[in-house]
Symmetry: C2
Subunit: 407 residues, 2 copies
C-alpha cells in the first residue's frame, strides 16, 4: 500500500501502520470480474465475517435521490448485525426504479447464499454510472467465484473491485494497542474527490476484530464520519450511493466496553483511519496537484460552516490552489458570498500561516510559497465555533475527464 503522510492527519502513538495490509481477524474478502465494467476489470466484491456475533453500523448519503442498494439497505437490512457485504462497481444502480430494487435484492440474496447467512445480514452497495440498468447476467456466478476466493488477505482484491477511476489505492490495516489488548482495524474506500465526481460515490468499509456492542459501533462510526467524509468537498455534491459501514467481529477477544479507555483509544484509531481515507479521496485524481484545508472560526456554528463550505467549493479558490496562486481575494469573495447582508464584516484571513487580511483590510505581506498542502484560515467575529473542510484543486484534467465521460 502507498505510504501516507499529511500535516493534517497524523497517527496516534498507539496505532501501528501495517504496510502489508490484511483484514481484521474474522473477516475474509475477495474481488472478481462480473462483466459490469466494459474493461473486464474486477467489479464485484464480497466481504464476509465468520463470527456469528458480528455487530455493525452504517451511514448513507443524505441525498434526496437514493440508489436502489441504499434503499434496500435501509429497508431490508439489520444494519446493526451485518455479516456480509456485496459491492459492485461500474454501475450505480440509481434511477433504475423497480428493476433496480429487484437487482439489488438479487445481489443481496446471492450474497446471503455465498456467506451462509440470512439476507437481512447482507448489505449491498453500488458505484458507477447513473440511469442505466445493472447488467446482472454475470453477477450470481461472480458472487460464487468470489466466495471461493475469500481470504484473510483479500482486502487488496476487494479494494480493486470496488474502485472505479481511483488513481491510487485507499486501503489501510492498523494494529491498535488498547489497554485491554491489541486489535486490528482494516478499511477499504473508494472515491476520487473533485476529479471523477461522475463516479464520485464514496464507499468505505471498515472492519475491526474488537468486541463491541452495536451501540458503540454506531456511536464511533457516527462521530468518525462527521470528522472525515462529512468534512471533504466533492463539488458540494452528494452522491446517490454514498455508504460507510463498520463491522466488528469480536474475533480478537478484546472487549471494548462503553465509555472505557479502550473505547476512547479505538475511537482515536478509527478517527485516524477515516480521516486518512477521506484526505486520500480529496487528493486523488489525474491532474490534481494540491490539497487545501480551510479552517474557519467565529461565534456562530451555522455561519462558520457556511463560510467553510463556500471557500472549499469555490471554483475560483480551487483553480487558484491548482496554480499555487496566493490570491486570497478569492477567499474574501467566497466569504462575502456566504454571508449576504453582513457587511461590513471584519474578517481575517491567513494563508499558510501568513496573515493577509485583518478586519477586512489587506495587510502588506510576503506571499507564501504554496506547497502540496495549503492551509486557509478565516476568522469571523465571535468565538466558540470552528470547523474545517478539506478540498481538492480544480485541474485541467477535471474538465477533460468530465467533459468526455460518457461521450
Amino acid at each position: 500500500m502507498i505510504a501516507f503522510t499529511s500535516r493534517w492527519v497524523e497517527p496516534p502513538p498507539h496505532v501501528t501502520d501495517l504496510a502489508e495490509g490484511g483484514l481484521a481477524a474474522g473477516f475474509r474478502a475477495a474481488g472478481v470480474p462480473a462483466g459490469i465494467k466494459p474493461s473486464g476489470d474486477p467489479d464485484l466484491a464480497l466481504l464476509v465475517s465468520s463470527e456469528p456475533d458480528t455487530v455493525s453500523a452504517a451511514r448513507f448519503t443524505r441525498s434526496g435521490v437514493l440508489a436502489a442498494p441504499v434503499l434496500l439497505c435501509q429497508s431490508r437490512c439489520r444494519l446493526d448485525g451485518l455479516r456480509a457485504v456485496v459491492v459492485n462497481s461500474g454501475n450505480a444502480n440509481a434511477a433504475t426504479g423497480n428493476r433496480g430494487l429487484e437487482d439489488a435484492a438479487r445481489m443481496q440474496g446471492a450474497g446471503a447464499m455465498a456467506a451462509g447467512v440470512h439476507e437481512e445480514r447482507v448489505a449491498v452497495a453500488s458505484t458507477g454510472v447513473i440511469g442505466v440498468p445493472l447488467p446482472m447476467d454475470g453477477v450470481p456466478r461472480a458472487i460464487l467465484t468470489a466466495r471461493a476466493e475469500l481470504a484473510p488477505d483479500g482486502d487488496a482484491a476487494f479494494w480493486r473491485a470496488i474502485a472505479t477511476t481511483d488513481a491510487f489505492e485507499k486501503r489501510l490495516a492498523l494494529d491498535v494497542a488498547l489497554p485491554s489488548g491489541t486489535v486490528r482495524v482494516s478499511a477499504q474506500a473508494k472515491g476520487a474527490g473533485m476529479i471523477q465526481p461522475g463516479f464520485a460515490t464514496m464507499l468505505c468499509f471498515v472492519q475491526t476484530d474488537a468486541a463491541l456492542e452495536a451501540e458503540t459501533a454506531d456511536l464511533l462510526l457516527g462521530v468518525c464520519v462527521k470528522r472525515s467524509f462529512d468534512r471533504i468537498s466533492v463539488d458540494g455534491q452528494l452522491s446517490t450511493n454514498d455508504t460507510a459501514l463498520l463491522m466488528a467481529s469480536g474475533a480478537s477477544g478484546v472487549i471494548v466496553a462503553p465509555e472505557s479507555e479502550d473505547e476512547l483509544r479505538l475511537g482515536e484509531a478509527l478517527d485516524y483511519a477515516l480521516r486518512r481515507l477521506a484526505l486520500q479521496m480529496v487528493r486523488d485524481g489525474e491532474g490534481a496537484a494540491r490539497t487545501g484545508r480551510v479552517h474557519v472560526h467565529g461565534g456562530h456554528p451555522d455561519t462558520v460552516e457556511r463560510v467553510a463550505r463556500a471557500v472549499a467549493n469555490s471554483p475560483l479558490v480551487k483553480a487558484a490552489l491548482h496554480g499555487a496562486d496566493p490570491n486570497w481575494g478569492r477567499v474574501a469573495q467566497a466569504v462575502g458570498a456566504a454571508v449576504p447582508g453582513a457587511a461590513p464584516l471584519p474578517y481575517d484571513i491567513w494563508l499558510d500561516g501568513v496573515q493577509v487580511c485583518a478586519g477586512g483590510v489587506a495587510l502588506p505581506h510576503e506571499p507564501p510559497r504554496l506547497g502540496e498542502e495549503v492551509d486557509y484560515v478565516v476568522g469571523l467575529p465571535g468565538e466558540g465555533a470552528e470547523t474545517e473542510v478539506f478540498f481538492s484543486d480544480l485541474s485541467h484534467e477535471y474538465v477533460r475527464i468530465n467533459a468526455e465521460y460518457t461521450t
Copy 2:
C-alpha cells in the same frame, strides 16, 4: 456591436435594435486610460446626464464583503437622483479599508467637478483585483480628460473602459415604441460568467431618455435585475462590487406614467435589455463553448430555487455541458444533493425537450445532440412554483486562466 440571437431571449415587437449604438438623449460618456491597468488600456469611464431632473435607481451586490465604492454609493449618494457615474476597471478597491473609502470619495469628488453636479449625485464603481490599493495617481487627470471627450456616442469608449477580460462587447442601444412616443434605451455591461470570476464583478449601466418618476425607475430596475442578473450562475459566487444603475433623463419628452401602458412597454424593453446582457455574461469567455438553461417547476418556491441553483452551479453538469455530453445522471445527482432527506423523490428530467427520466426512473431514449444552447428541465412534485437559471460551461480555459491569474 455584435449581433445577438438566443432561443431564450427575443426582442419584443416594439423594440428596434440600433446596431450603431449611441446613448439615450441627454447622456454623454467617455472612457480613457488612467494608469490602473498595467496594460495601459482604458480603465476610467465617465457618464454624465445634462438633464437636471434625471432620476435613477440602483442595485448592489448582496455580499457580506462590500468594496469601498459600493459602501460609498450606499452611504453618500442620492441613488434616486444620480447625474453622473465614474467607473474604474483593473482594481476593485475592495478590502482596502479607510484608504479605499478615501480613494472612492476622491473619485466621486473629481467626477462631481467634471460633471458640474453635487457629489451626492455621482455614483462610483470599481472592478478588478481585490486587496490592492487603487493606484490613484492618474485618476483625477483622467477624469478631466474624460470630461473633455464626453460624447453622445461615447458608449463604445465607456464600455471599453469598464471592461476587464470580457471577450466581447456587452452593449446595446434600442429604440422603444411606446404608446406616447419613441424613447431610447442604452446600456453597457461588463462581466464574464464562469470564465474570469476573479474579475467576475457584474457592472451594468442603463440609460433611457423617457421621463420617469424615481419610484418607477426603482420598480423597473428591481424587477428586471431579478429576472436577469439574479438568474445567472457565476460559480454561485457574489462579487464584492456588483452594481446596476438605471438613469432616466427625460430628454425625449415622453412621459411614462406609473401603471400605464407606456410603463408596461418600457418594462418589457428593459427586461429584454438586461436579460440579453446577462446571457452575454454567461456566454462570455475564452474556451466557453455552450450555454445552459435549467428550468425547474414544482410545488415549493424555495425547493425549486435550490434545485435550479444546484444544477446550474454543479461543476459536473458544467463540464458535461462543455463536452456536449448528454449525461443526465449528473443533473439527477445535483437534484438529490439539493433536497437532502427527500427520498424517494419522483423527479422528472428533460434534456433539450427529450424526457430522460420520469418519476426518478431512467427512460429509454435517443440522446439528443446538444448545440450551443442546451435546455435542462427538472420537474419536482407539485405545481405553482417555477424558476430558471442560465449557466456557462466549465472549460479548460477556465482552469488555465484562474490558476494563472495573479502569478
